[in-house]
Symmetry: C2
Subunit: 239 residues, 2 copies
Amino acid sequence: MNKESIKVACSNCNLRELCMPMGLSEQELRRVDELVAVRRTVKRGASLFHNGEKFTSLYAIRTGFFKTTVNTEDGRDQVTGFQMAGEIIGLDGIVNELHTCDAIALEDAEVCVLPFDRIEEISREINSLQRHVHKIMSREIVREHGVMLLLGSMRAEERLAAFLLNLVQRLQARGFSKSELILRMTREEIGSYLGMKLETVSRTFSKFADDGMVEVKQRHIHICDADALKRIVNPQICQ
Amino acid sequence: MNKESIKVACSNCNLRELCMPMGLSEQELRRVDELVAVRRTVKRGASLFHNGEKFTSLYAIRTGFFKTTVNTEDGRDQVTGFQMAGEIIGLDGIVNELHTCDAIALEDAEVCVLPFDRIEEISREINSLQRHVHKIMSREIVREHGVMLLLGSMRAEERLAAFLLNLVQRLQARGFSKSELILRMTREEIGSYLGMKLETVSRTFSKFADDGMVEVKQRHIHICDADALKRIVNPQICQ
DNA sequence: CGCACGGTTGACCTGTATCAAGCCGGGTGG
DNA sequence: CCACCCGGCTTGATACAGGTCAACCGTGCG
């Protein structure tokens, strides 16, 4: 476990518009800067927190890429999400002050540690921060509704197409290409997230490639025809 | 849409320990009582809110039983949860100030309307209420992780067994029998929630009945052997 | 009473899992 | 620097859980 005490300021972080509410005054910004205690680096493959660990803080991802997984006592496990820069992890820990999932870095990562009692304290004073915290939690609930829809009612091709479109859309919002991406996770992790086996993930990639929708070269994905993928997810609408 | 203005007090509601934080002072309790504007009754089959409607309030269920569903433009829909007395619905609406799912009453119901800006206002003053709101949202996130695990990695029998055990456990917490229950939803709604077809739900019920684990008579379910159900969900642990 | 909706059951089909073999590419050690 | 190894990926053959389609039943309501 690697902890470093690099003091940082949200006020001049380039991810601010992802983590923080808009339209704070100078004074409020300074108040929020106090919130971020330290940054912490997490090496690829290491965990940010584990199921059962005491919850104290949320984490804002500055760089890197994470997966979160829940696991049953009998060894089954399920990837519940993939998180990238600007996203917040750890919300699951609030209820029982224990984390209920593992957060594992899929590449070397750096996170801002946000002690939760400080968040609560400051959000009592700054209304827009309070609202922001509520929105972040609500957004996570809505995201999970989407995953439930995917797992409950889509077939393999639809799931993978939806997954790729979602990833590329989030990357695009961060200034990356909307047609080129590098997967940070294995086929098995994708499969776990999408409720399918790694072989099925692989076959479905191959099928998409055969149909000329994507080019797949290991973890390098080029999306040639995003509309075709959209039509797979939602056949009715896209003619 | 049925709206009634019955003024009520949380402070002497018998569901208080489900909706409200513990250990409030007299004065705080009075403050919280101001929160609940009105109650609203919802007839069986009617909606409390719809996808796309403006979000203003959360709802605490006083009596009755709801389902929430998300739907795609192309007509697919997915039940994301079943809610009973003491539970809070509407959290999905906070992010975009629009509801993103439908809440439908499965039997005549009564809810307390909790205007969200009042919740935010009062939770700035009462720390334990603030913490309580955060916990409710976090609990919903954790619940959905559980559903993702179910949908992503369990087989039909495991899903239905987990579903029954969850329902009966929540009913028991409300003072009902731990072996007897009446399903408020159709086989199709159960199937949607569990990511399986209604025929499979029906067959799986029949199989459980053949194996002597439950007695099924339409929507009346008697759980004869809860341990056997637990063993289905989690074979490793329960020998 | 009869209709309609929800539920059950059967026969058959298909999508995905499973099992197995082989490939590719990157990192390590000689 | 090259050879080897190993983890991750692909592909094929086969199996099976659950989906689909269809017929029928039961029950509660108008």
